[in-house]
Each structure stands twice: as structure tokens, then as C-alpha cells.
Symmetry: C2
Subunit: 130 residues, 2 copies
């Protein structure tokens, strides 16, 4: 059971990520639950709810173009109802790379579909201007 959930969760994430990398945030939006909460390095506070996340993502639709990505060492902790996916990500954009830490929490809904209820993106070892 555990292995099946792991594969399912990683596959869902990769599909959404591949759409994201082509400028299409709808993969993640379709995969997220109504009560999703969200952090990234550019928001002042946690974003609460799919409606607000949709508003945020619509501002960057079409803006992102990642040539190639590496999902590093994905790991899934799971129970029957919830699954936690963590991984490091390298995004290759032109000749540049961006390194990310990612945590996604999925919950199985009443239709037995896994939906994201928490997303946390942060930069790996950001070079801070102090």
C-alpha cells in the first residue's frame, strides 16, 4: 500500500510541476484542495485557501519557463488519509539554476483523490543581503 501511495503522490507532483515549468499554474491549482495553505519566498504571509492561491498564480501565468528540472531524493511519509512529500528541486532556466526546498502535504478526499492541503516552497541556502 505504502509504495503505491508514494508512487501516486510523486507522479501527481511531477505532472503539476511539468505544467508549471511551461508557465501553466493550473496543474497545481487543480491538484489543490479548497482549504490549501501556501508559503513561498515572495509572499508576506501564509496564503490561505484556493481562491487566494488562484489569484496569486494567475498573476504569473505564462511567465515561467523552466527548461529542465531535477527532483532530488523525493520522500513520502504516509498514512491512510495523508501523505507528506519532501524533496529538493533544481530548476534549470537558460544557463542559470535555482535550488528549492519543497514540502507538499496531500490529503485523500471523499472521492479518494489526493489533494494538496499545504505547499511550502523555499530557496535552498538563499544568498542573503544583510
Amino acid at each position: 500500500m505504502k509504495e503505491t501511495i508514494e508512487n501516486k503522490i510523486i507522479s501527481l507532483e511531477k505532472k503539476a510541476l511539468e505544467r508549471w515549468n511551461q508557465g501553466d499554474p493550473s496543474g497545481f491549482l487543480e491538484l489543490s484542495a479548497n482549504d490549501v495553505v501556501y508559503f513561498d519566498p515572495f509572499t508576506e504571509h501564509r496564503i490561505d485557501g484556493l481562491e487566494k492561491l488562484t489569484q496569486l498564480y494567475e498573476t504569473i501565468r505564462g511567465e515561467i519557463k523552466v527548461d529542465r528540472y531535477e527532483m532530488i531524493n523525493p520522500k513520502v511519509h504516509c498514512s491512510e488519509e495523508m501523505a507528506v512529500l519532501t524533496y529538493n528541486l533544481i530548476s534549470h532556466i537558460n544557463n542559470d539554476t535555482v535550488r528549492w526546498n519543497c514540502t507538499e502535504v496531500f490529503r485523500k478526499d471523499s472521492n479518494n483523490e489526493w489533494k494538496i492541503i499545504q505547499t511550502h516552497w523555499s530557496l535552498t541556502k538563499p544568498k542573503l543581503n544583510t
Copy 2:
């Protein structure tokens, strides 16, 4: 049931955080499961397992002194077996403040105790040196 779990989870986190703020990482270490995974802004990769997290935390034991903290808008998504706590944190250190995004995932173990299986700390809107 939901409200009880929420209060329990937030209380566990606050107790560990208050010890952390006095330089004592043992609160978080005692609260973490053997298979905990961990991100913060200063690590090159995800840290896997309590043993490695302990090694990391022992290097900063006694080094941290937070005068006052504000846990902003804590939220808990929970099932019977797992709970996801998210919040923004402001740490006041002397006359400075540091703002954090935090995600903790807890799992109920075989003794009915809640243990952290995933910690993700990141800086809120870090000022990047690009």
C-alpha cells in the same frame, strides 16, 4: 476532536519553541520522530532522520537567545493520525526581528503521542543578494 488536536499540537510546538528560544534544542529533538525530515535556510539539502538533526542542533546549542516571539495565525489541518501546523513567526532578538514561515507535520505514534515527522523553516521574503 478536531479542536482538541489543534490545541494539543499548538501547545507542543510552543513548548519546544520556548526552549529553542533559550538556546535549548532538546524540546524539538524530543518531539521529533526517528524518521523526521527537515529543511531550514542554512542547509544544502534536506536533513533525513533524528540522528542527523541532532548532530545539526548540537552545533548551535546555547547559541540562540530570542527575547520574545509572536506565533502568527497558527492553523492545523488534521486527520486521526496526522496533523499539519503552519504559522508565521516573528522572533525578536535584541532590537532586531526575524520573520519566518513554518510548517510542522505531526504523526500520532503507537503510544498515542504526537511526534514531528517534517519540519520546514524558511525566511519570510528574504532580502536576496542577486
